[in-house]
């Protein structure tokens, strides 16, 4: 093989691709050719590195030099300075907020340094379209070990002892699920990978598939062996074309090598997968709706007192797990139970629900400086994730709340920042782990408005089967809308709580069963905001514009702004009057509270009361 002395690992996750990662790659290759370096320096497109806020990213190996916010313009200089003359370019390196000195290497940057990579172990290190590179990092060795030296029951025993729990949101002990499926009567059995990832703002599963699809395939192969299945489905949502493309390539390459198909490794074990595409319904991330969708039926959930491990796809025993769960399985096989249980919280030796072991991937978004994808050990505090890894709140503003678990989760206030992230502690606080979405809010977010936002989503995605979910979420949303418009009553808070509990208790699936969580937690921890909206008809965060009173401070306008008139020209309702040089004023009757004047005034003369 041609020896390269440098590998440029260019991040090609969807985020960086949207930001011209492929253009950067082309520019690099062209410039390297111009300099005669194309046989020494290899440019590799990898999966998502996680630090999406700073993309397009590139890591130069060896040396771990981390470059961010690359543009094609800087490529010629970069190639000459670093790749030819060996002088890393400081101005393209990451500088932490509020600091001056750049941090050259990736593992010294707090965002990366404080993470523990298990499901994302190969991110940024391999080209996901080359199976050899995945094998070079240990891919399929766990499968080889399992097929040649372990019985299916032994595999199940290990996964049970490891305490691995479902990473899709349910947190069900994986080993127990596999055991029940193995024992269930019925042939053939099915293995399903849930890659629907419907939570808005969640992209953990997408990144795993884009960076390291073989880790998921290997996990499924091991699960199939343990459970006694030969057929698998990967249900991937329609909105993930890049992930699906890499998955298709990975499956083809695995088949070519005989790692998928008949008689794998000459052991008599057979297994192959089919890809099933989602069609845009959030509810099809729910396991029974997902299976209905694969079967070609309408994506609606059913009651789960009959478990899908006994009667699932085509009414046969089916083991469904999330992408991240599958990706974690091979590592547990290779590194063992003791290592895995040393990470995380609690004790799973007697009770599989007794703790949360291993790591979890979170998509950190919202008002944090370092938005992106992070993998951290269970038990880490919210504070560490948001402030150390996340780099704190943008623009130096104040933290207000964090929403975990996507639209099914709840809001956690500043008092709970030292809460340890694990399945039980988050649920006790009124939220949940969910699939790993984490949205950070600051003082400019209105909690009533945020509850309305998430409820609007779940209301839209409700399949409609259960009347309480279908009608209840609609009524709750209407109440919230009225409150944000200043038309709420005190009774509304009680009605919201009653409706919430009612919808949770009487819904068939977890969509209805968790849609009211944002409402309940915002009422629990931010009741004062509801009261301000209802009693004073005011929004403390100024986000509910209908409740804002926009006024111009005459002194500031005249002394500082000299009556510049910018707001008057921008006002779409022509509600502002004033002479040049003198204070302007807003006609409240005409004002539609759009907030443009507030945004454009450079002298802070327009104020909201």
């Amino acid at each position: 093989m041609k020896p390269y002395r440098l590998n440029l690992m260019v991040c090609a996750g969807t985020g960086c691709v949207a930001n011209n990662s492929f253009g950067i790659k082309k520019a690099l290759e062209e410039e390297l050719r111009k300099r005669g370096l194309e046989n020494e320096v290899q440019v590799v497109s990898t999966g998502c590195n996680g630090f999406c806020a700073e993309g397009p990213l590139m890591v130069v190996q060896p040396g771990n030099i981390f470059y961010r916010r690359l543009t094609e313009k800087e490529i010629p200089f970069l190639v000459e300075e670093h790749f030819l003359k060996g002088r890393p370019v400081q101005k393209l390196m990451y500088v932490p907020p509020k600091e001056k000195a750049p941090i050259p290497t990736m593992d010294s940057i707090p965002f990366f340094r404080d993470q523990t990579l298990i499901a994302l172990r190969n991110r940024g290190l391999i080209d996901p379209t080359k199976i050899d590179e995945a094998i070079g990092r240990g891919g399929y060795t766990a499968l080889a070990k399992v097929l040649t030296s372990m019985k299916p029951e032994e595999v199940i025993k290990i996964i049970k002892a490891s305490g691995l729990r479902g990473r899709g949101g349910g947190g069900f002990p994986t080993g127990v699920k596999w055991e029940t499926c193995r024992k269930a009567p019925g042939e053939p059995k099915y293995i399903v990978c849930n890659a629907d990832e419907g939570d808005p703002g969640a992209f953990m599963d997408r990144s795993i598939i884009e960076s390291d699809p073989h880790s998921v395939l290997e996990g499924m192969l091991i699960g199939a062996y343990a459970v006694g299945s030969q057929n698998g489905y990967i249900y991937i949502r329609q909105e993930y074309p890049l992930a699906r493309e890499r998955l298709i390539i990975a499956i083809e390459q695995a088949r070519e090598y005989g790692l998928m198909g008949q008689n794998i490794f000459d052991t008599g074990f057979n297994f192959d997968v089919q890809i099933a595409r989602g069609a845009g319904a959030f509810v099809c991330g729910e396991s029974t709706a997902l299976m209905a969708s694969i079967e070609g039926r309408v994506g609606e959930p059913r009651a789960k007192y009959i478990h899908t491990v006994e009667h699932g796809l085509f009414n046969l025993p089916t083991c469904l797990n999330n992408v991240e769960t599958w990706a974690t399985v091979p590592v547990i096989i290779l590194r063992g139970v003791e290592w895995f249980t040393s990470i995380g919280t609690g004790d799973v030796s007697e009770n599989p629900w007794g703790g949360s072991k291993g790591t979890k991937v979170f998509s950190l978004t919202g008002k944090v400086n370092n938005t992106g994808l992070v993998e951290v050990p269970m038990g880490i505090t919210l504070r560490k994730i948001i402030f150390d890894i996340g780099g704190g709140i943008t623009e130096g503003k104040r933290f207000k709340a964090v929403q975990t678990g996507g639209p099914s989760g709840g809001f956690l206030p500043a008092e709970l920042l030292d809460l340890q992230v694990d399945f039980e502690q988050l649920t006790e606080a009124g939220s949940m782990m969910g699939s790993g979405g984490m949205v950070v809010m600051n003082q400019d977010n209105c909690m009533v408005d945020m509850a309305k936002y998430f409820l609007t989503f779940t209301q839209d995605e409700s399949c409609g089967k259960c009347t309480p979910c279908r009608e209840g979420t609609l009524r709750m949303m209407q109440i919230l809308k009225r409150i944000t418009e200043g038309k709420g009553t005190e009774e509304d808070m009680t009605t919201l709580e009653e409706l919430s509990h009612f919808v949770i208790d009487t819904s068939l699936c977890a969509l209805g069963g968790s849609a009211p969580n944002p409402v309940l937690t915002s009422l629990r921890y931010f009741r004062d905001e509801y009261e301000a909206h209802i009693k004073q008809k005011k929004c403390p965060a100024h986000a509910c514009r209908q409740l804002n009173l926009y006024m111009i401070d005459p002194e500031l306008c005249a002394m500082k702004g000299h009556g510049c008139g910018v707001c008057m020209r921008q006002c779409p309702e022509k509600a502002i009057t004033g002479e040049k040089g003198k204070a302007h004023s807003i006609d409240q009757a005409a004002c539609k509270k759009c907030g443009v004047c507030y945004d454009v005034c450079k002298f802070a003369a327009v104020q909201i009361s």
Binding site: Q61, P62, L84
Partner: protein, 128 residues
């Protein structure tokens, strides 16, 4: 492509080992060729080419080849610094393609410093 047997996994891993180690920054030895303007003018690109050639010939997987800027002694370019893991770096001067081949074979692969081509042993800065 033929179906893999279990032994083939290790073979493939070996085949891509150089790439895997390179990306992890893991190595047994580091060869640093100085490429400031003086170095390039004196012909250090040929030194890099010669090194890449011998790395390919001998199928070496765990040696990292890097470049850096001018080391300061412009009159003795082309220069290279060889650093074996756990040992002090050694600076070689007045290099030619034949000399660097000898240095690579005897020092990097064989572990023995080639004294007649070396300038100094050790780093001018404190090791951190």
């Amino acid at each position: 492509m033929p179906k893999l047997r279990i032994e083939d996994l290790q073979k493939i891993s070996d085949r891509v080992k150089r790439t895997t180690l390179l990306r992890q920054g893991a190595s047994r030895a580091k060869v640093n060729v100085h490429m400031g303007t003086c170095g390039i003018a004196a012909g250090s690109r040929k030194i890099v080419d010669a090194l890449l050639k011998i790395i390919e010939e001998k199928d070496v997987k765990d040696v990292i080849l890097t470049t850096s800027g001018c080391a300061g002694l412009c009159s003795r370019e082309p220069m290279a610094t060889i650093e074996l893991a756990g040992e002090a770096p050694v600076k070689y001067i007045d290099l030619t393609e034949e000399k660097i081949r000898k240095i690579f074979t005897e020092h990097v692969l064989g572990g023995k410093i080639v004294r007649e081509y070396a300038l100094a042993i050790g780093s001018e800065r404190e090791h951190m």
